[in-house]
Subunit: 239 residues, 2 copies
């Protein structure tokens, strides 16, 4: 992203409360959803999701992430200690246990969303995952990237959510809420004090959704960003 | 900090460009300044600085940090990999090398600020440091706490500055700029893409100072915060 660009918003498409009853019993057109820790083999999907997000935000000219640059900067620390990614997978068949994803730091979480109509996913093949599903039709539907931040007033870490994205055809089904809740739940589990992210001030639907999730919107604070040439000018700075 | 509280602003008292010529040759009333990595033994001073900052922001009721809670949550990772603190020390005598602070990850940086008048520091005894100064009159004048963040668009880490604080009697002498520049320089050195922080929208002096430092102010973005009871409600959340 270039100097003047805003950061990618979490959940650019807010997840409205889902009118379809949810539960663990499949009915109608069940959609099986799973959240698990990302694995280095997920990078091609994560890369595509990031670029879809950039297009959605009309900032694709500023998105220079490549699979190689993501691979070399992510997965450098154990989960939750630094940059951490949850991947959201969906399937029309139940997920089965898969050794590759059976991470003790975060055992995968599943739920069933019962839909009135089946979902037509035009990008299913692009996002097909090897998640170990009976029938083998699982695909990646979204992700959340977060990392620890710190509050000196609380003297506690928290989590900052950099990105939260659900692919268009899977929105408004409670899946963004599922991703955000997973981060919040993990924060509480670790005794952390806050979960924070940013939203565009004109995105009233997203703001309403976040407030329903319990978040406060801090109206007075502005982000300051030093990047590009302005940052590089400090390379030889005489302090 | 409580649920609705804003985060502590970096540099609540902006450092105006210093009219006093600076350099390495002491003249007039020289003030020797040094930036170094914080050490666990600095916690009592850092704790006092955090509370001074909270008073300055009129948010002291929300500052529950104690020396013990700071000690147990900071210094858990090598410098720059997670929460990192630079301490700013000042002295009327030159700093000498001190084995305790001779950290290979960040060798201390010093400069001389030549002042027309000497500084009267009412809290000198409270902030006295064992920094190894000829004459032994060094004290802690400020700090900056920062940690890595991540941009998916750049596929690069950056630094987020949570706090930047200079004690009142040492403001407007270029010391806040020195702290911010030290973080920016370290970011460039590590190949990072951004340095970010937040500012209150009505703090026009701080905004002007940050813009002079090369930062862009992102006007459209708002911080969302989930904390306190609203966060703890997720402890048993059914995703």
């Amino acid at each position: 992203m270039a100097a003047a660009a805003p950061p990618p918003p979490p959940s650019p498409a807010p997840e409205a409360p889902n009118d379809v009853p949810q539960g663990s019993t499949p009915r109608g057109h069940p959609l099986f959803a799973r959240i698990r820790l990302a694995h280095p083999t997920d990078v091609p999907h994560i890369h595509k999701l990031i670029h879809q997000m950039a297009v959605f935000e009309r900032l694709s000219d500023q998105c220079i992430a490549t699979e190689a640059s993501l691979s070399s900067t992510l997965f450098t620390s154990p989960p939750f200690q630094s940059f951490t990614i949850f991947v959201l997978e969906v399937s029309h068949a139940p997920f089965v246990e898969h050794l590759q994803y059976n991470n003790a730091a975060y055992p995968p979480v599943t739920k069933v969303v019962n839909l009135d109509l089946p979902i037509n996913d035009p990008d299913r093949d692009l996002f097909r995952s090897n998640g170990g599903v009976l029938g083998g039709d699982a695909c990646v539907a979204g992700f959340v990237l977060f990392f620890p931040n710190y509050s000196t007033f609380l003297a506690k870490p928290g989590f900052y959510i950099e990105d939260l994205f659900v692919r268009e055809c899977y929105r408004r089904k409670g899946l963004g809420k599922m991703l955000l809740s997973a981060v919040a739940k993990q924060a509480v589990k670790m005794g952390y004090g806050r979960v924070e992210w940013v939203v565009l001030d004109w995105n009233v639907n997203a703001i309403r959704f976040y407030e329903e999730m319990g978040a406060k919107i801090l109206q007075e604070w502005r982000i300051c960003r030093l990047t590009g040439d302005a940052l590089n000018a400090y390379v030889n700075a005489q302090l």
